[in-house]
């Protein structure tokens, strides 16, 4: 192995000579590489220098040893254990704060925007939940609107005690209604109208001698106090 280096006193070659080590290791960018290579094409001295640089690179790269990683790693693991012992919530908080401080402005802006978006979405979700149907009640009165009858009109009705089942059936058929709940302890039934207006049905029921009481069920969306 012969290593020869030419003298760098000549400024004409200096620019090329300076970059030769990185031409040899392949890390020059396109423009620099072209510039160096075009000078090399016409300069014997620099080509000779290039060979010397290659020889040096080869000599250094061939000088290999195989260090014992396992024992070194074992010694480091002991230090990591000590380090872990001091790792807790406070250090996590410190780490998060440090990451925020060290984040680039673009990253910080993105994080801030994401946090703002999450708050807006959470607010919107709250509004949607608040304006939607109330959760099912644990108990129910006849005035409640059950889920199965959503969209249909209801009437709470109490029949006079002496009227037979036949009379009640007649009324229900004439109103095109059905019993969806009851009787309660007070003898109240809740009716659902399959079709027809609630007010007309109420008028007919109230006029009927078999009916003691008839009132509309509370409007949907209201809660039962």
């Amino acid at each position: 192995m012969i290593l020869r280096f030419f003298r760098f006193d000549d400024p004409v070659h200096r620019d090329t000579a300076e970059l030769l080590p990185w031409l040899v290791n392949g890390t020059l960018d396109g423009g620099e590489r072209e510039r160096v290579e075009s000078h090399l094409a016409q300069c014997v001295t620099c080509r000779r220098e290039l060979e010397a640089v290659r020889a040096l690179q080869a000599a250094l790269a061939s000088d290999e040893r195989d260090p014992a990683v396992a024992s070194a790693l074992a010694r480091l693991h002991a230090r990591l254990d000590e380090d872990e012992a001091g790792y807790g919530p406070r250090r996590l908080l410190h780490m998060l704060m440090r990451r925020w401080r060290e984040a680039r402005p673009a990253v910080r802006r993105t994080l801030a925007a994401q946090c703002a978006l999450i708050l807006v979405l959470a607010g919107a979700l709250g509004i949607v939940i608040a304006s939607s149907s109330p959760p099912p009640a644990l108990y129910r009165t006849l005035g409640d609107t059950p889920t199965a009858t959503s969209g249909r009109q209801g009437i709470v009705v109490v029949f006079k005690g002496e009227h037979a089942e036949q009379e009640i059936r007649r009324l229900l058929v004439s109103l095109n209604a059905r019993v969806v709940d009851g009787p309660s302890s007070m003898g109240a039934y809740r009716l659902e109208l399959r079709k027809g207006g609630q007010q007309e049905a109420l008028a007919l029921l109230r006029a009927d001698p078999a009916v003691a009481f008839a009132e509309p069920t509370p409007a949907q969306g209201t809660t039962n106090e």
Partner: protein, 191 residues
């Protein structure tokens, strides 16, 4: 043609993924990263410090910083550049603590003289090169080593050793001139 640098990272993305896991306190990921870097750091630190007996400690000091600060890695640079920069700073500190660097013979440098004649010549040439490198400053050796063995671009070297790119070029320029003089045995010409 790019030479085959045995120390060059296999995949930058793999290393970034490993480092992310390390930042989440994943010991297994850390061990993988350690094994990837141990040989490269050992080699680099031996060249820079010329003190084989302190190399393992500097490698471990370096990797402990990696373990603790993996979450601060700036994705603007390569993982290897970041780790080598930590190692370089640790090396300079260790050398300062240990006062003046002294000359320590390498394994094989004083090796057996038996073997074929060609091998002898080769060994002698290698020993001359090692002696010449030992005559350089730690800063110059770092630039030579990072370029020729580890295959870094001069911009990355500037990042590792923490100086402007022109300084890296100048250091390399002077390192080569000194090497030439040392290899030619003309020590009296050294500045």
């Amino acid at each position: 043609m790019k030479p085959d640098f045995r120390s060059a990272p296999a995949s930058t993305e793999d290393e970034v993924a490993l480092l992310r896991q390390v930042s989440e306190r994943d010991r297994h990921a850390f061990e993988l990263l350690y094994r990837v870097y141990y040989r490269r750091l050992t080699r680099f630190l031996e060249q820079v410090t010329r003190r084989p007996q302190m190399v393992e400690e500097i490698v471990n000091d370096t990797m402990l910083v990696v373990w603790r600060k993996a979450d601060t890695f700036n994705h603007g640079s390569r993982v290897s550049t970041w780790i080598f920069a930590i190692a370089y700073r640790k090396a300079l500190k260790a050398m300062k603590r240990a006062a003046e660097p002294r000359r320590v013979p390498w394994d094989g440098e004083m090796g057996s003289t038996c073997g074929p004649e060609e091998e002898l010549i080769e060994r002698e040439a290698r020993n001359r090169l090692r002696r010449a490198l030992a005559g350089l400053s730690a800063e110059h050796r770092a630039v030579v080593e990072l370029t020729y063995y580890h295959g870094y671009a001069y911009r990355e070297i500037a990042e590792i050793v923490g100086c402007p790119v022109d300084t890296v070029k100048t250091r390399m320029f002077h390192a080569r001139r000194k090497l030439k003089i040392l290899l030619d045995g003309r020590r009296e010409e050294l500045p």
